[in-house]
């Protein structure tokens, strides 16, 4: 069976599964729709969080980015996992103890202010939209390559599926679909990685194969040493040495960590478990499930890079394997025979380099590059779609909740019935899907780059406001609002300036203290905290009942909190 047929089979099977789950888990109440009834098992929540979290960027782009960044790729690896430590220790248990539906709920109630709620709604919606564009683009890439439909059709198929289970099931549908999607995506990621590790090093565990010796067929010697010497030979930087300025790597890592902890679609997953104890447990499960992929990714990056360098360098164009021409047609690989010798010169020196490789294809093309069976290639496509769709669904839910619950129910039309609220939630998802689809078809940039901005914005807006709200009882509404606004505006302005207004000036010399736009979220976070603490000192302390509420969420939490449906709002 050829790749395309296999792809149709896997995609049809997995999509059928998601739809089946959606039908089985229809949401009947806002409680179901927003927090899946609040009774999700921590293990299931851990899997759903992992799928929610691991987006098209993690699945498709990350290993590719790492393989081109070498050791500096660590900011993705450490940033996107280290943030979980912050999330598990500083946010998840307290927000669960607080026991409402959303992040703007927490901000609005903790800071006893409609304006604070509005600022939080605005941040939640903009962060989620920026991020969802990346997911839709990821889905588009996969569809266009593997189903050989154009990107527009691909994005529409993806949107329809998400629409179906998000609108019907809300958080409940999304949660159980994400559990299935986690299984699909981790299987799809691990199978080729194990195959390749076995082929190249004889060790079936990629995490170990990464530091093992290559088999005779691949030239022997340690994999990483071989990669270092191959890279140097071709004029690229040494793979295992850092290239970027240390402070930039430092700030990017921190921005991704704070951002991870501040991302609303991940935070709301912790509202769905029954108790505080379960919130902590499910954070642990989530990181274990995420770590399986994240410790494999650097191995995949090294395998793919070694394979690519081995295969293409100085090879005759005519004799290149068939994957090369397949990816050439998508323009994700481009060969320009400058010296006309019919051979591929791949080099770190732009003057003689003849090959351009899009970083996003490293994972997708990897099985083909390594010559794996067709069904493995197709499996990767299904996994990439699972990754893109699961994250998209989680983000769309944040947008819909922010509109129907935070904006309408809690701010503008408090009198609406639960039925109306549910209808608005579904309408909001529908509109959000249309907008996301538009950006999927007309994408604004590299998948992972766009996503990296969402992190900067999430870090600079939410993270300090939530942490200070829990750990500093004296923090008041004036401080929080001023902090969120200044952090968000500063970060957005810096990113917009260097990425859109004046992209040609985006060089380390022009950056403040050599901090790239990807890392500026850390500065935004610090500005947010500094402004909040300063303004707070010059304005009145929060009312007594708010201070009591803060005391309350700090108390031991192994007793299940009151079921959400019994709460008064």
């Amino acid at each position: 069976m050829n790749v395309q047929l296999w792809t149709y089979v896997f995609v049809a099977l997995s999509f059928g599964l998601y739809i089946g789950i959606a039908v089985w888990s229809r949401a009947a109440s806002t409680n179901d729709f927003y927090v899946a009834g609040g009774g999700v098992h921590p293990l299931a929540n851990g899997m759903a969080t992992a799928a929610d979290w691991m987006s098209a960027a993690s699945f498709i782009s990350m290993a590719g980015l790492i393989s081109f960044l070498g050791r500096d790729g660590a900011f993705y690896l450490m940033g996107w996992t280290g943030g979980y430590v912050l999330l598990a220790l500083l946010l998840a248990p307290y927000l669960r103890k607080f026991g409402k539906f959303t992040v703007p709920d927490f901000i609005g109630d903790r800071y006893y202010s409609r304006s604070a709620r509005m600022v939080a709604i605005f941040c939640a919606i903009s962060v989620s939209f920026v991020y969802v564009c990346g997911q839709m683009q990821g889905a588009g890439i996969v569809f266009s390559r593997f189903l050989e439909v154009d990107i527009t059709t691909g994005v529409i198929i993806g949107m329809t599926i998400v629409f179906f289970y998000a609108v019907m099931g809300g958080m409940k549908g999304i949660t159980y679909t994400q559990v299935a999607q986690y299984c699909v995506l981790i299987f799809a990621y691990m199978v080729p990685a194990i195959f390749i590790s076995l082929m190249m090093t004889g060790n079936p565990i990629p995490q170990l194969g990464f530091g093992a010796e290559l088999t005779e067929e691949y030239g022997g010697g340690y994999l990483l040493d071989r990669l270092d010497s191959l890279s140097e030979e071709l004029g690229f930087a040494t793979y295992t040495a850092g290239q970027r300025a240390t402070q930039d790597v430092f700030f990017i890592t921190a921005a991704l960590m704070f951002g991870t902890a501040g991302l609303p679609h991940v935070i709301i997953r912790f509202f769905t478990v029954p108790s505080v104890r379960d919130a902590r447990k499910s954070a642990a499960y989530a990181l274990v499930f995420i770590a399986i992929l994240y410790t494999t990714a650097p191995a995949v990056a090294a395998f793919a890079k070694t394979n690519l360098l081995n295969t293409v360098n100085n090879a005759s164009y005519e004799e290149l394997p068939s994957w090369f021409s397949t990816w050439e047609t998508t323009q994700l690989i481009q060969f320009d025979d400058q010296n006309g010798d019919g051979r591929v010169q791949y080099s770190g020196d732009p003057a003689i380099n003849e090959l351009t490789v899009n970083r996003d294809i490293m994972v997708l093309a990897n099985p083909e590059i390594a010559g794996l069976p067709n069904w493995v290639v197709a499996l990767v496509a299904a996994g990439a779609l699972a990754a893109a769709l699961s994250t998209a669904a989680g983000l769309l839910l944040v947008i819909s909740t922010a509109v129907s619950h935070d904006l309408l129910k809690r701010s503008m039309m408090p009198g609406i019935s639960e039925k109306q609220e549910l209808l608005f939630a579904r309408l909001a998802i529908f509109v959000a899907i249309l907008i996301a689809g538009y950006f999927g078809i007309n994408p604004p940039g590299f998948v992972a780059e766009v996503v990296a901005f969402a992190f900067g914005l999430a870090a600079a807006s939410f993270f300090p406001a939530i942490v200070l709200g829990i750990f500093y009882r004296r923090m008041n509404r004036e401080g929080a609002i001023a902090g969120m606004l200044s952090g968000f505006l500063f970060t957005a302005a810096y990113i917009i300036f260097f990425k859109f207004v004046s992209p040609e000036s985006s060089t380390p010399e022009n950056w403040w203290f050599g901090i790239s736009p990807e890392g500026i979220g850390t500065v935004g976070t610090l500005i947010n905290a500094a402004v909040a603490l300063t303004v707070c000192r010059f304005s009145p302390a929060p009312p007594r009942d708010i201070q009591n509420m803060v005391e309350e969420i700090r108390l031991p939490g192994n007793v299940p909190t009151v079921p959400l449906s019994h709460q008064s709002h």
């Binding site: 979980y84 598990a88 093992a212 010796e213 902590r280 031991p556 192994n558």
Partner: protein
């Protein structure tokens, strides 16, 4: 009485967080970034130590940190749970 327990619990909680976050910052920012070049002088198998911590080792440590946190907090909760009829108002109303 209730205040005293709540304060002691919170203090113990903050101590746990501070300990774990110190390890978190040390392994990622210090070993994985600031000292990575120096640590690269040490090797085990095919790995240079700094490179390995930056790309894999730190993630294993993060997983362990959260598991330790779950374990410690469960123990802390259990210790205060004995008196939680005073420290937990929900329990109080149910009792």
């Amino acid at each position: 009485m209730r205040d005293k327990h709540a304060r002691a619990y919170w203090k113990a909680n903050v101590r746990i967080l501070a300990t774990l976050l110190t390890v978190w910052a040390f392994i990622s920012f210090v070993c994985g970034i600031l000292l990575a070049d120096f640590l690269d002088n040490f090797r085990f198998g095919g790995f240079k130590l700094g490179f390995w911590i930056a790309q894999q080792g730190s993630i294993y440590v993060f997983v362990i940190l959260i598991i330790v946190y779950v374990f410690w907090m469960d123990r802390l909760d259990a210790r205060y749970h004995r008196d939680s009829s005073v420290s937990d108002p929900e329990k109080e109303t149910q009792a």
